[in-house]
Amino acid sequence: MKSLIERVSTKYNLQEVVQQRDNLVFAYVDKELAIDMVTYMRDYEGYAHFTLMSCVDWIEDGKFQLLYLLNNPETKTEFGIKVAIDRDNAVMQSAHHLWEQIWTYQRELKEAFGIDFPGSPRVDEDFVVEGWDDMPHMRRDFDTNKYAEETYFMREGRKSYDPATYMREKLYPKQPVTAKKNKDEQ
């Protein structure tokens, strides 16, 4: 694995290489070189099995992080090629010519995140939602709770609790509830 990383690093200028496990590596590569590198990994390094294409929305950096996860059936290792693309102008080169199932992923990402893949077959068709007129539903700034409250009918009497506050009140009922709130809770 180490020699592979060194070999590819010199070729493709990998950044932030993280070896998560013995058989799993994640690394960033430049957007322009990404599809080139995926092709290289498939044809010359034996990463012939395409496992997953995914996206993470790093809204605070204004970036989408695309992931191409490749698997080498010979060495039983996995290589995750990550690409950062601009959130406002989310366009990525299509890779549908490399594996037959990639257009499905690209179609899903187009719908869920609004990332465009020009030239990918059937990329504009609906994938899982039908008649959707809000922003792409997997983006971080889409508030699903608010959408559900506005669109669907909540049944009266249903309550939801913040688990930490609820347990504190249940276990220590005598202590006054302080205003201290978990920062991550909203």
């Binding site: 993280v18 998560q20 496990r21 058989n23 799993l24 994640f26 012939a48 099995h49 395409f50 496992t51 997953l52 995914s54 996206c55 993470v56 929305d57 992931l67 996860l69 059936p73 039983k76 996995e78 995750g80 594996w99 037959e100 199932q101 257009w103 499905t104 992923y105 077959p121 609906d126 994938f127 899982v128 939602v129 039908e130 539903h137 997997m138 971080r140 889409f142 699903t144 709770n145 688990p163 930490a164 347990m167 978990n182 991550d184």
Partner: protein
């Protein structure tokens, strides 16, 4: 006809346009467009196949999914790590325990606490996963015969599956959604007498295995329809990303349990079955062999596992659990193939992104659409079941 010796005249078939789509003029009355599903008792789960037919042969097929979309990946981003747990296991109903393991393992790995899972818990996890595989196969193997109207096998299989669900109920307290494998270990030890009752059920299943073999593989209708039908050539495996039993039936030995052993699979003695033809018959045959193997694996696990031991390691307080920034991809071999989860954390108390990779994602869309072309409309259902498509894991 789906016989490999019978090759119909294809010269009158529609030609391809430059953009790869078929040149089908629906107003010419030569072609019929019909939809199979979502309201169709023969469809696996709740999905639809849009088919254009010339006569009774399919010239174009499109899979439509999304009827079971619940937005899990979005919902989990709003929940604490432990809260996300009951939500995530409902991602796929066919083998819910696989989801439990994936999410437990991802959170353990990202917080660096994998060492804290006790050995006993690992054995119990292996047992739960194999039991889940067994109950899935008990539906799957006779279900394949059911697609050719051999309904009696389904009746046997569903009854025996119920017995396994009874054992699950004894072990975990629930029939279908168990919530047994949790971060740090499992929720309970084996109840007393569990092994004896399990052995009773396995004996029944042994009996069933012999009978189902006679019922399915010695049946001339099944043979004449399944042999040579819906073939996956060996070259397709990497091209389409085919995994699991579907790949093994085409002669490519892909099994995560062997390739990247997890839990206690390295200590168990098994060899994933393979076949060479890649048609419906070999896929069913591989699955039948897997059924035999799973019964054997459960016996091995019950014999090798220790009697007592810790079942839960120390884990952080679930209400204030924060996981440092990181990402991982964890996978296992489910009854349908490689089943994985891409898990990203950002240092807060909620996951940043969870992406499930189900084998049906490729099998039910890219492969199925390609495979249905030029098959008979009567074989569509059998093709879908033989690929073990499970729509909830496509759309989540």
């Amino acid at each position: 006809m789906s016989n490999k010796f019978f090759q119909p005249d294809r010269s009158k078939y529609p030609s391809m346009k430059d953009d790869g789509t078929l040149d089908v003029d629906l107003s010419s009355q030569k072609y019929t467009k019909i939809w199979l599903g979502p309201n169709h008792p023969g469809v696996t789960g709740n999905m639809a196949v849009e088919m254009t037919l010339g006569g009774d042969e399919i010239v174009q097929a499109k899979t439509h999914v999304g009827y079971l979309h619940r937005g899990f990946e979005k919902l989990i981003e709003r929940r604490l790590f432990v809260q996300g747990f009951p939500t995530s296991i409902r991602m796929c109903v066919a083998e819910p325990d696989t989801n439990e393991y994936l999410i437990a393992r991802s959170t353990e790995e990202l917080s660096g606490l994998t060492d804290r899972v006790p050995e006993m818990a690992e054995w119990l996890r292996t047992l739960a996963l194999e039991m889940a595989r067994l109950q899935g196969l008990l539906r799957g193997v006779p279900g394949q015969a059911g697609t050719y109207s051999l309904g009696i096998g389904v009746q046997w299989g569903v009854y025996l599956r119920d017995l396994i669900l009874d054992r699950f109920e004894e072990l975990t307290g629930a029939r279908v959604y168990h919530m047994y494998i949790i971060p740090g270990g499992v929720r309970g030890l084996l109840p007393s007498g569990f092994k004896r009752r399990m052995e009773d059920n396995l004996t029944d299943i042994d009996d069933f295995i012999v009978r189902i073999r006679k019922l399915i593989f010695h049946n001339s209708v099944f043979k004449s329809r399944a042999v040579g039908s819906a073939v996956i050539p060996k070259e397709w495996i990497d091209k389409f990303g085919i995994v699991g039993t579907n790949a093994r039936a085409s002669g490519v030995k892909r099994d995560v349990r062997k390739d990247n052993p997890y839990l206690k699979y390295s200590e168990l003695d098994f060899d994933p079955p393979t076949a060479t033809d890649g048609d419906v018959y070999s896929r069913t045959w591989v699955r039948w062999q897997e059924l035999v193997q799973t019964v054997d694996l459960i016996r091995q696990i019950m014999a090798k596992m220790p009697e007592k031991g810790d079942i839960r390691g120390d884990m952080p307080n679930a209400l204030h659990w924060k996981i440092p920034k990181g990402e991982t991809y964890v996978k296992l071999e489910s009854g349908r193939g490689e089943y994985g989860m891409y898990y990203v954390t950002d240092g807060s108390s909620k996951p940043r992104r969870v992406n499930l990779r189900g084998p049906s994602y490729t099998h039910a869309i890219a492969v199925l659409e390609k495979m249905l072309i030029n098959t008979n409309i009567a074989d569509v259902h059998a093709t879908m079941v033989s690929l073990q498509t499970c729509p909830p894991e496509i759309e989540r």
